[in-house]
Structures are given as structure tokens and as C-alpha cells.
């Protein structure tokens, strides 16, 4: 059964697009045909992070308006087989994002054999965000370890339980996963950041992953290569763990404890 997964947060800039790209890539690497849809109309950047910006011709709004068909608009990823991107429009009006239009796109993607449909939500709780979450079967609520991000995640989680198709039709509720990003164990230790336990206490959502704060993420976006492909990096490994957990494989949490560097390693700058 095809799964529609929204990556959402309420608050902006917490790592939704980074996570959509990494998780979409990870799922495709497992052999499942996967598409990542950019719902951030007017602020398209999924294509940049996935490194396919120079191959974008048509976009989601073109498909909704019938100006292009799905096959024309889907951008095939060059590195990962079975991975596709449906870019957002940079120029169109967001109002073009209608429920009927999005429904048709998702139905067609399912008919086309896609197993995972990842919806990269824009920030906020306006139309774009509502359309990104409306058809979701599962949600990855992306949160940074700070109070305002947690508050917004709480808000969007409430909306998943009242504004989604599943809630309106009283089907089994959207399965919500918590993804903590930009986690910095050292700052948690110094009590400058909320800990995993604090966040769990405030949100009560099942944890699917904790991605450490990492320079590798910035490098990866600059190169247009999802960080999960950097299998040497902590962030890449943490995203792989999250993908595995999404697919039901148990993985121990990593990179969440602060380890003081020893004298020697400090000396040699390791």
C-alpha cells in the first residue's frame, strides 16, 4: 500500500526540506519507488537540496492546472534509482494549490506505482501547509530542541488530528512521528537546549529519530546531495536510522550523548 507522509513543523527553518530530501532518498535506497513533493509554493528549494534544480521544467501547479502531465513534471533523481521529485512553482499563486488538485496528483502517483509519497510542507499553518498534510497517512513532525519550535509542533500535531482527511472521515488517525533535528548534546548538557526527555514530556509523540547539529548538513545542501548519502557523517547515519525505524526496523539512538573530548584528542584536534 502506498503511503503518503507529510514532513511538517509549524515553525520555519527547522529542517523539513533537509529531512524530506534525506528520508526520501533513504526510502528509495531501500528499493521503494519514492517521490518527494515540494509544497512550498513561491519558496521552492527542495530541488536545490536534491541537486536537480537545473532539470526542472514543469512543477506541481502546472500539473494541477493541467498545463503538464505528471510524467513531464516528475524529475528523476540522477543518483538514486527509484527516486523522483515533484518541484514547487516559484512563480505561481499559492491559491492554485486546491484540495481537488492535490488529490488528483496523489491518486495519479499511487496509480503510477509510487510506494512513498513524501510531502515537504511549507512553514506556518496556512493553505500550503494544510494541503501538504491533508492527505497524509503518516506525519514526520520536525522539531528543534527549543520551546517555540516545540510549541508549533504541538499546534501542527493538533491540526493533523482535526484538519486531515483521516480525521474528517474518521478513519484511523494519522500516525505521527517526532523527528528532532539540530540536536546538540553539549548544549543540552549546559541546559541551553531542551533535552529529548523534555521534548517527549511536552509533546508525547513517538520518536523516529534525532539528527545532530552538523556542518555536514550545510555542506550536503550546498553540494545538492542529501546528507544521508554521506554515510561517514553522524547526521547521515542518524537519518538512515530514522528511515529504518520508519520501515519498522529497531535502531538504538545514537549521537545523543555529550562526550567530553579527551586530552589527547583535543591536542591533536581530532
Amino acid at each position: 500500500m502506498a503511503k503518503v507522509i507529510v514532513v511538517t513543523s509549524g515553525k520555519g527553518g527547522v529542517g523539513k526540506t533537509t529531512s524530506s530530501a534525506a528520508i526520501g532518498t533513504g526510502l528509495a535506497l531501500s528499493g521503494a519507488k519514492t517521490v518527494v513533493i515540494d509544497f512550498d509554493i513561491g519558496l521552492r528549494n527542495l530541488d536545490l537540496i536534491m541537486g536537480c534544480e537545473r532539470r526542472v521544467v514543469y512543477d506541481l501547479i502546472n500539473v494541477i492546472n493541467g498545463e503538464a502531465n505528471l510524467q513531464q513534471a516528475l524529475v528523476k533523481d540522477k543518483r538514486t534509482p527509484g527516486l523522483f521529485i515533484l518541484p514547487a512553482s516559484q512563480t505561481r499563486n499559492k491559491d492554485a494549490l486546491t484540495k481537488e488538485g492535490v488529490e488528483k496528483v496523489i491518486t495519479d502517483l499511487k496509480a503510477d506505482g509510487f510506494e512513498y509519497i513524501i510531502c515537504d510542507s511549507p512553514a506556518g499553518i496556512e493553505q500550503g501547509a494544510m494541503m501538504a498534510l491533508y492527505f497524509a497517512d503518516e506525519a514526520i513532525v520536525t522539531t528543534n530542541p527549543e520551546v517555540s519550535s516545540v510549541r508549533d509542533s504541538d499546534r501542527i500535531t493538533g491540526m493533523l488530528s482535526s484538519k486531515s482527511l483521516r480525521s474528517e472521515q474518521q478513519l484511523s488517525p494519522v500516525k505521527v512521528h517526532l523527528l528532532i533535528t539540530r540536536y546538540c548534546p553539549e548544549r543540552v548538557q549546559r541546559e541551553e537546549m531542551l533535552s529529548i526527555e523534555d521534548i517527549d514530556d511536552l509533546l508525547g509523540i513517538d520518536l523516529v529519530g534525532v539528527i545532530p547539529e552538523s556542518q555536514e548538513v550545510l555542506n550536503a545542501s550546498n553540494m545538492g546531495e542529501p546528507v544521508i548519502l554521506n554515510t561517514d557523517s553522524d547526521a547521515g547515519k542518524a537519518y538512515q536510522d530514522a528511515v529504518d525505524r520508519l520501515m519498522g526496523i529497531e535502531r538504538e539512538l545514537r549521537f545523543v550523548k555529550f562526550e567530553k573530548k579527551g586530552f589527547l584528542s583535543r591536542l591533536f584536534g581530532a
Binding site: K99, R151, D152, D154, R155, T157, G158, M159, S161, S162, K163, D201, L202, G204
Partner: protein, 237 residues
């Protein structure tokens, strides 16, 4: 933009005579009792006299002066009353035959009003006394109102969430948001909670903000009630 049917709980105030001073008194009383919940709250004026020559524009003024918004007028209206309402562009609300829905979570405060449906949950007679039970977390932005009864929340109430009851409120979890008990003015109402860390607790319109809470009660199991019109917090054991 699609038009949907939604249910809303609305405050209903009765008008029996042409003398509108009672209406003003009643609204003022309710506003004082639960200022947070009632500020800009929509109000239905229920006309209980179809022979009265009512000044509906004045009614709307009184409603507005008291910090409410007139959602419409209901009741067994005479033709001339209906004409006057049409002329004044005030909605006439009819009660639906359908049962009031069990829906408890209202996402945001009602922004649109669909007149036909509005009166559906507008109850004029006190319901049978029953407790409203909500299982699970109440999240930021959600609002729950237990009309004319007690409210039990079996879970945490997040910061930014608002739970309101005309009776008592019981929270089997942590209260981080707002709890408003005795919303219609019942001074004997109380808030019980397992862990007290609220943004605001109000009993019959008398409220305490988190700032004003004594430190020794924060994070504890507590009862908040009124004594001589003042909020009192006691530890629950």
C-alpha cells in the same frame, strides 16, 4: 473555498420584554464572570415574546457595548419581527432538529458562522448534567468547552491550549495551558489537576496567571478554588 457545515456552541441570552436593561445586565454579568472566554464571543439573542416591538439595532448595540458580537436572533418570531431583522441585516437563526453533536474539540475560535447550523448546539434548556470526558492530550491551539457540565481531561493540556467548563475541571495529567472552570459564573467550581504548571487558571472569572502562582504549588497535584471570591490553591494528597 468550500462552504462547510460546522457546529458551534454559542451563548444564548433571552429577551422577554421591550425593556432591554435586563439584557444589558445579563451580558455584563457574564462578561465579568469569564472575560477571557467571552471577549468578542458570538451571542444569540433568543426572543421569547413574538408580540414585543423590539429595537433590534439597539439590541445589537447593547451586545457590542458589552464586548460580544451578535451572531443572530432566534425564537418564534412574528412576521414583523422578521421583517425588522431583515431590514437591519441581522441573521435569523433556526434551531436544527438534529441532535447536538458530540464534537468537543474546536480548532481555533469560531471564525465563520453558518447560520442554519449555528442554533444546533445552542441549548436553551440546561442539558442533563453529565461529565464531558476527553481522552488524550489537548494540544496548543485546541479549545475544549464543556457546556453546563464538568470536564475531565485524561491527559496533558499543552501550553497554548484552552479548556473551559461551566462546572469543575479535572486533569489527570499536566496542566500547562489555560483552565477556565465555572465559565458561566459558578463560584463553587474548582480545577483539579495532577501537575499544576498553567498559563492561567480561572474560576468564575477570577483568574490567576502563572506569574502569580505561589512557587510551592508549581509541579504539584493541586485543587484551585475560590474562597471569599479569591483563588485558593491547595495541595491534593
Amino acid at each position: 473555498m468550500t462552504l462547510k457545515s460546522l457546529n458551534f456552541s454559542l451563548l444564548v441570552v433571552a429577551v422577554e420584554t421591550e425593556d432591554l436593561s435586563q439584557l444589558a445586565d445579563e451580558l455584563n454579568k457574564r462578561r465579568i464572570m469569564a472575560p477571557d472566554f467571552f471577549q468578542y464571543a458570538p451571542v444569540v439573542v433568543h426572543v421569547e415574546n413574538d408580540t414585543a416591538n423590539l429595537d433590534f439595532l439597539r439590541i445589537r448595540e447593547i451586545v457590542t457595548e458589552n464586548g460580544f458580537i451578535l451572531a443572530g436572533v432566534s425564537g418564534e418570531l412574528s412576521d414583523s419581527q422578521k421583517e425588522a431583522l431583515h431590514a437591519d441585516k441581522i441573521a435569523i437563526l433556526r434551531r436544527s432538529k438534529r441532535q447536538a453533536s458530540k464534537e468537543v474539540v474546536v480548532e481555533d475560535k469560531p471564525a465563520e458562522v453558518v447560520p442554519e447550523e449555528v442554533a444546533e448546539t445552542a441549548t436553551f434548556i440546561a442539558n442533563e448534567v453529565k461529565t464531558k470526558i476527553v481522552t488524550g492530550r489537548v494540544r496548543s491551539g485546541q479549545q475544549i468547552y464543556a457546556k453546563e457540565c464538568d470536564l475531565v481531561i485524561n491527559g496533558d493540556v499543552s501550553a497554548g491550549a484552552e479548556i473551559i467548563a461551566d462546572g469543575n475541571i479535572h486533569i489527570y495529567g499536566t496542566l500547562r495551558g489555560r483552565a477556565i472552570a465555572g465559565a458561566m459564573g459558578d463560584q463553587t467550581a474548582s480545577v483539579f489537576c495532577r501537575v499544576l504548571a498553567p498559563e492561567l487558571v480561572s474560576i468564575a472569572g477570577v483568574f490567576k496567571l502563572s506569574e502569580g502562582l505561589p512557587h510551592e504549588h508549581l509541579g504539584k497535584s493541586c485543587i484551585v478554588s475560590l474562597r471569599n471570591g479569591q483563588p485558593v490553591i491547595e495541595t491534593l494528597n
